[in-house]
Amino acid sequence: MKIGLFIPCYIDQFYPAVGVASLELLEKLGCDVSFPLNQTCCGQPMANSGFEAMSKGCDKNFVNNFKGFDYIVAPSGSCVLHIKEHLHDEDNPKAADEIRSRVYELTEFLVDILKVTSLQASFPFKVGLHTSCHGQRGLHLASMSELVAPAFSKPETLLNMVKGIEVTRPKRVDECCGFGGTFCVFEEAVSVKMGKDRIGEHQDNDVEYITGVDTSCLMHLEGILKRQGSKIKTIHIAEILNSQL
C-alpha cells in the first residue's frame, strides 16, 4: 500500500511540525509513505474566491505529483474536500478521477482504512476539540448538530485512545470558527468575531489546548489567542496522536 503524503502549502511553509507528526504517525502505523517533492497547493484559495478557472495549473501539478498512489493522505479536511469535489485535469482525466476517490483526511484514513483501535500516544492535557466544517459537514468526519442522526466523531474516537488526555467540547459543538479562506481578510470583522466567540467557549471549559483537523482554523484561532495574550495554545490533532509526553 503506497501512500502519498499531501502537505498543504501553508502547513509546508508555516507549520512543518504538523507534516512531521503526520508522517511519523503513519510510519509508526506501518505505512509506506512518500512525500512527492513538487507538490504545492490544492487550488482552494483561488476556487473559493470565485477564480476556479485559475486553479487549473494547480490541479495539473497536483495530478502530476499524486497519480499512481494507492492512497493520498493529508492532515487537512478542507484541502482534501476541495480535491475530492473539484480536482480536474483535462489532459489526464482518469488520473484526476482516481485521485479524487483515493484522497483521505488523516483521521478518516486512520479510522476507516487503517481501522486503528489503539495508539501509543500520551498527552496529559485538557484539550478542546474544534470541529472544522469542511471535514465535518463535507467529509462527514463527525455527526452534525443540525441533522437527526446517530452521534459519532472520528477525530474524537482517536483522541480518546491517547493516554492522559481530557477532551472537551465547546457549548456550540460545531459552529464555524470564521476562518473561511479569503473570508478571513475580506470579511475581517465577522471572521475575528466568530473566532473570538469560539475561543470564549473553550476558555469556559478551562482548556490548555485547542485542537482540530485543520491547521487553517487553528492558525486563525492562534492569531487571536496570541493577540489576546491567552495561555491557551493550538495544536493539530496529528501532533497529539503522535505525542509521547
Binding site: 511540525a17 473559493n48 470565485g50 466568530m194
Partner: protein, 459 residues
C-alpha cells in the same frame, strides 16, 4: 427591482460588530431560535425523511411548473378567485394599485409577505399617496421606524424592547421608558384592532398554493392575516410562482416542517386555508415571476426556488447572526438571500455570495434540502466570470495561481515569505494587512516541511 446599496456586506457587518455587546445579544437571540429548532427536529424520528419528501415534492413542482400553474389558475377561477399574472415587481405593484383604484378604497392592511418587500410595494403605494398598514407586529415596528425587515420570520429581531418602547412612545403615545413587553404588545394590539376593523382591503402573502384545489394556505402566529382577510371586503394574496405544490395532502409534509424549522413550534398558531371568496367579498391572487423563471432556467441554482421561507438558514448562519439582516441590503437576507438575490441583480448583490465561510450549516437545516453553501460557491464563480470581481483581488488571485502552479517559484516565494515574516515583521504586521488588525501572524519556522523531509527522510 433591486437597487444598488452604497455599502458592501463586509462594511455594514463591521459597523454592526462595532457594538459588540449588541452583536452578542443578536447572536444569542438567534442561536436560541436555532436551538429551539433542533429540539423540535430531534423530537421527530422521521425528520430527515420529511425533509427528503419536501425536497422531492418541490423538485417535482419545479419540473412541472407550467402544468401546476395552469391547473391552479383553472381551479382558483372555478372557486371564484380572480387570478392575475405579473412578470415583475413593477407589474405586481401596478395590478394591486389598479384593484385599489377600481374599488376606490383607502384603508389597507397587509400581513407579512416577503414578496411585497421584494417588489417594494410599500414604497410604490406611498408614492401614489396610498397608506398601507403592516399588521405583523414586527413589521409594524419597522414600518414606524421607516426601516425594512432584517429577518424574514422575525422582522424586528435587530431591535431590543427599549427600541420598541421608544418607537411606540413616538407613534402610539405609550409611556416613555416603559419597556414592559406585555404593555407594549397591548398597545400595538389596540392600535392594530382599529386598523383591522376599519380596513377595506387586506393584502396577504401565500405560504402554499395547492394546484389541485385552487386554494392557498397562509401561516401566521398572530392571526393578523386572518383578521385582515375576514374584515375587509377585498382580499389580495400575493405569491411568487414557486409557492405552488401539487396536492393538498402535501401540506401534511410542509406544515410539519415549516414552523419547526422556523421557530421550533410544532405548527404555526394559524395555518389558514383560503379556497373561495365569501359572499360579497372579492378575492384576488397575484402570481409573480420577477426573475423566478430565469432562476428556474439556471441548472445550478434552480433548486433555490424550493425555499419555503422558514429562515432556519438565517438562524444557524454564524455570519448572519453577527452581521444583522440589514448588512445584506436586500429584502431576503441570510444565506438563502445570498443565492436568490444575485439572480435578481448580480452587480448589486455581487458581495453576498462572499458573505459566508461555506461552513455548510445552512444546507443542513434547510427543510427542503437546498444545497445553499454549494450554490454560494457556484455564484462566486459566476460573479468573477462576469468580470465583477475587484481588479486588485483578480490580480492577487492571478499572482497566487501562477506561484502555486509552479513548484520552484512556490518554494522560492515561500522561503522569501518566511524570511520577511521573521526579519522584516513591519512588512506584514501593519495596518494594511487585514489579518494583522486583530490577529498575530503565524511564526515563521526555519525550514519548510519539504526542507525537513529532504534533510531527514530522503533516502
Amino acid at each position: 427591482m433591486s437597487s444598488q446599496a452604497n455599502f458592501t456586506h463586509a462594511e455594514a457587518a463591521e459597523q454592526f460588530i462595532a457594538d459588540e455587546p449588541r452583536t452578542d445579544w443578536h447572536d444569542d437571540t438567534l442561536w436560541f431560535v436555532r436551538e429551539k429548532r433542533d429540539k423540535a427536529a430531534h423530537s421527530l424520528p422521521e425528520w430527515e425523511q420529511l425533509r427528503q419528501w419536501a425536497s422531492d415534492i418541490k423538485y417535482h413542482g419545479l419540473s412541472n411548473m407550467h402544468q401546476l400553474l395552469v391547473d391552479f389558475e383553472k381551479n382558483a377561477i372555478a372557486n371564484g378567485i380572480q387570478v392575475h399574472w405579473a412578470v415583475d415587481g413593477k407589474e405586481h405593484n401596478e395590478i394591486i394599485y389598479k384593484i385599489i383604484q377600481d374599488n376606490q378604497v383607502q384603508r389597507i392592511v397587509k400581513s407579512k409577505s416577503m414578496l411585497t418587500e421584494e417588489c417594494h410595494l410599500n414604497e410604490f403605494l406611498t408614492e401614489k399617496g396610498v397608506e398601507i398598514v403592516d399588521t405583523d407586529l414586527g413589521e409594524r415596528i419597522v414600518q414606524f421606524r421607516k426601516e425594512t425587515p432584517s429577518h424574514i420570520v422575525l422582522p424586528a429581531i435587530h431591535l431590543k424592547k427599549q427600541d420598541v418602547s421608544e418607537t411606540f412612545h413616538e407613534h402610539l403615545g405609550t409611556e416613555k421608558g416603559n419597556n414592559d413587553p406585555q404593555y407594549l404588545t397591548e398597545a400595538a394590539r389596540g392600535h392594530l384592532r382599529d386598523k383591522f376593523i376599519a380596513s377595506e382591503l387586506a393584502i396577504t402573502g401565500v405560504n402554499f398554493a395547492v394546484a389541485e384545489t385552487g386554494g392557498f394556505v397562509v401561516c401566521t402566529n398572530e392571526g393578523n392575516a386572518d383578521m385582515g382577510a375576514h374584515a375587509a371586503k377585498i382580499h389580495i394574496a400575493c405569491m411568487g410562482f414557486e409557492k405552488i405544490i401539487p396536492k393538498a395532502e402535501h401540506l401534511g409534509v410542509f406544515l410539519r416542517l415549516l414552523a419547526r424549522s422556523a421557530t421550533g413550534q410544532p405548527i404555526t398558531t394559524y395555518s389558514s386555508h383560503f379556497s373561495k371568496p365569501r359572499a360579497g367579498q372579492q378575492m384576488h391572487i397575484v402570481i409573480v415571476d420577477n426573475g423566478r423563471s430565469r432562476q428556474l432556467g439556471r441548472e445550478s441554482f434552480r433548486n433555490s426556488l424550493k425555499c419555503i421561507r422558514c429562515a432556519a438558514c438565517f438562524n444557524t448562519c454564524p455570519v448572519y447572526r453577527r452581521s444583522g439582516g440589514h448588512s445584506y441590503h436586500t429584502a431576503v437576507a441570510g444565506p438563502i438571500g445570498s443565492i436568490l438575490n444575485p439572480n435578481l441583480d448580480m452587480q448589486a448583490n455581487k458581495d453576498l455570495p462572499f458573505a459566508s465561510t461555506l461552513c455548510g450549516s445552512c444546507s443542513n437545516v434547510c427543510p427542503v434540502k437546498i444545497n445553499i453553501h454549494e450554490q454560494l460557491y457556484l455564484w462566486r464563480q459566476e460573479i468573477t466570470k462576469e468580470g465583477m470581481a475587484a481588479k486588485g483581488k483578480t490580480f492577487a488571485m492571478w499572482g497566487m495561481s501562477e506561484v502555486l502552479a509552479h513548484p520552484a517559484i512556490y518554494r522560492m516565494a515561500g522561503k522569501m515569505g518566511r524570511w520577511v515574516v521573521k526579519h522584516l515583521p513591519f512588512l506584514t504586521n501593519n495596518g494594511m494587512n487585514p489579518w494583522f488588525k486583530q490577529r498575530e501572524m503565524p511564526e515563521a519556522p526555519k525550514e519548510s516541511f519539504r526542507d525537513w523531509y529532504l534533510n531527514n527522510k530522503q533516502k
